[in-house]
């Protein structure tokens, strides 16, 4: 909202002085704005900084508050994390589940989106409506029967049990269908004239044209799985099958006052997600922005 353009009326009689005054006021306001927004950003960032500092200060929290810049930084907390606990295994579990979930959701969402965008059939609107409705059902309602269902199949405390409910998500179908509807139908028709069937059109025409939406979905699916808590908490019981968030919550109970270890675990949990984010920031922010625009 900075006054970058001046209203035309001020340019007239005696306008020059008034203009410089306005420009100076605008300049001062802009500086103030910069200061406020940068201080705000620093405040937002501080918890991350503090997490790292704490993880590098051995014995944090037992008796004292760590200093802002650790005097003798050490990786002791990380060593203990990986030596005392099956933490490497836990990180591996999270990576495995997040990767499989992401790949599965890309496949199930893309195929369903193609059907809703390109394959007219009777009752399609109703079926799409049901898909959208599943987004409104809170996981909490499903937890008890899901647990019973997977226990009946003998899948409690297995990777498969953790994975099955995450294979398909209506959000992805919705996102990709939106993107596919933007791909000109003339492209399919041209391919069809060349003798391509639906599977060829899907693979060679549609998918290459919705790469940004696929990237957005991949990041969201990965993030959803990496950060998910309630379902892994319920279904994965043994320590060596646990995922990062569940293990972290447990860590807290185990090392109530050893904040350096708890914070080291937090850093380990943030880093991979941070890497994904830095790599695909554009798609994450675009994805969030688009969901709100419609």
């Amino acid at each position: 909202m900075a006054e970058t353009t001046l209203a035309p009326t001020t340019a007239r009689a005696g306008g020059i002085r008034r203009r410089t005054e306005a420009a100076r006021a605008a300049g001062a306001r802009s500086v103030l704005l910069h200061v406020v927004i940068v201080v705000g950003a620093l405040a937002m960032f501080f918890p991350f900084y503090w997490t790292v500092v704490t993880s590098l200060t051995p014995g944090s929290g037992l008796s004292s508050t760590p200093s802002l810049i650790p005097a003798d930084a050490s990786l002791e907390a990380y060593q203990r994390l990986f030596a005392d606990l099956p933490f490497a295994r836990v990180v591996g579990n999270s990576l495995l589940l997040a990767t499989v979930t992401t790949l599965a959701q890309l496949v199930t969402s893309a195929t369903a989106a193609y059907a809703f965008s390109r394959l007219p059939f009777r009752g399609r609107t109703v079926v799409f409506g049901i898909y959208l409705a599943t987004m409104m059902i809170p996981l909490q309602v499903l937890v008890v029967p899901l647990f019973a269902e997977l226990r009946a199949w003998g899948l409690v405390d297995t990777y498969l049990g953790a994975l099955l409910p995450t294979l398909a998500a209506a959000f992805g179908v919705f996102l990709l269908r939106q993107a596919m509807n933007q791909v000109p139908f003339e492209l399919d028709e041209a391919a069809a004239l060349d003798g391509a069937g639906h599977f060829r059109i899907f693979w060679t025409v549609i998918l290459p044209n919705i790469r940004p939406a696929l990237a957005t979905l991949a990041v969201f699916a990965f993030m959803g799985s990496w950060n998910s808590f309630l379902w892994p908490l319920v279904v994965l019981r043994s320590p060596e099958l646990q995922t990062l968030p569940v293990a972290l919550a447990g860590l807290q109970g185990q090392y109530t006052t050893q904040w350096d270890i708890v914070m080291a675990g937090s850093v380990v949990s943030i880093l991979p997600m941070l890497a994904v984010y830095l790599f695909a920031q554009k798609y994450v922010i675009q994805g969030v922005a688009n969901t709100g625009l419609k």
């Binding site: 909202m1 970058t4 704005l33 927004i37 705000g40 950003a41 937002m44 960032f45 918890p47 991350f48 503090w50 929290g61 508050t65 496949v107 199930t108 195929t111 059907a115 809703f116 007219p120 609107t125 079926v127 799409f128 409506g129 049901i130 898909y131 599943t134 987004m135 409104m136 059902i137 809170p138 996981l139 909490q140 309602v141 499903l142 937890v143 019973a148 409910p165 294979l167 398909a168 139908f185 399919d188 069809a192 391509a196 899907f202 969201f220 950060n227 808590f229 990062l244 972290l248 949990s269 997600m273 941070l274 994450v284 922010i285 969030v288 922005a289 688009n290 969901t291 709100g292 625009l293």
Partner: protein
Amino acid sequence: MTALVGEAAAEVRDAERATTRRARPPRPVGRNRRGRRLRYTLTVLAFLLPSAVPLVLFVLAPMVAAAWISLTEWNLLAPATWVGLENYANLLSDPETADVFLHTLSYIVGYLPLVYVGGLAIALALNTALRGRTLLRGVYFLPVITSWIVVALVWRWLLNPSNGVVNTVLGWFGIDGPGWWTDPAWAMPSIILASAWKDLGFVMVILLAGLQAIDPELLDAARVDGAGWWRRLFSVTLPLLSPATFFVIVISLINGFQVFDQVYAMTGGGPGGATQVVVQQIYDLTFRYGKAGEASALSWLLFVVILAVTVIQIRGQRRWVNYG
């Protein structure tokens, strides 16, 4: 759990529109008409089943099962016994039910204004010609990608009553900081603070996208007419931003009623039940007290409340949401 209900109704309309401007499907190569139709049906199924099977098995079927379980007494182990509506009657007459809903509501009432006003302020600032805008936006967004558990743990440490950094800094100014999550009066504000920190960037990005869609000429026109900054904000910007605002409120209420992860990791519902929210209660009923039937009834109650709140908002949006 990403729920985009606000759009659901509009989406179904869109779907209808998309069908009417359908492209001619590529001509199948089947020999006769029936063979062609069968082939087309199989094609549709091939595209639809990979998502439909998991959604039916792991969302729709459990949803129906939850309704049935809610009418039984069941400890997850012994066979369930039919009790009719008894679970619902118990819940509705139990003052604890009112308590857990009130705690959830107090979370929402604290959280929503904080993220909306904060997110709006940052979005307004970032919408100006600001240097380093992308970097700043990235920093504000960072907590969004962090898991709720990490957020809860980090804030438990920041707000540690004895040697957390917040109380240490307050101590420099001679202020005796509160007990935060160990104090029944301050536990919910602690959770609200941590949650707002995490979600601020999410709200900011949605509002920023809304702001960028506003025609700058409208603001210029208001300026020429002598409208000051606040006047332009309330008379031009906010009305034009109402669709984004509506979206933020709908999503925040849906997620707010389902608040759980950060509560579980920060207070576990304590101290003394001060932060026992609905989902924490569902979890405890199921896995601590072996009352799966009552838990299912409570989860259905929660679903109905969320549904009602969402429908009321969608109905009421015509009064204040301005879709250009």
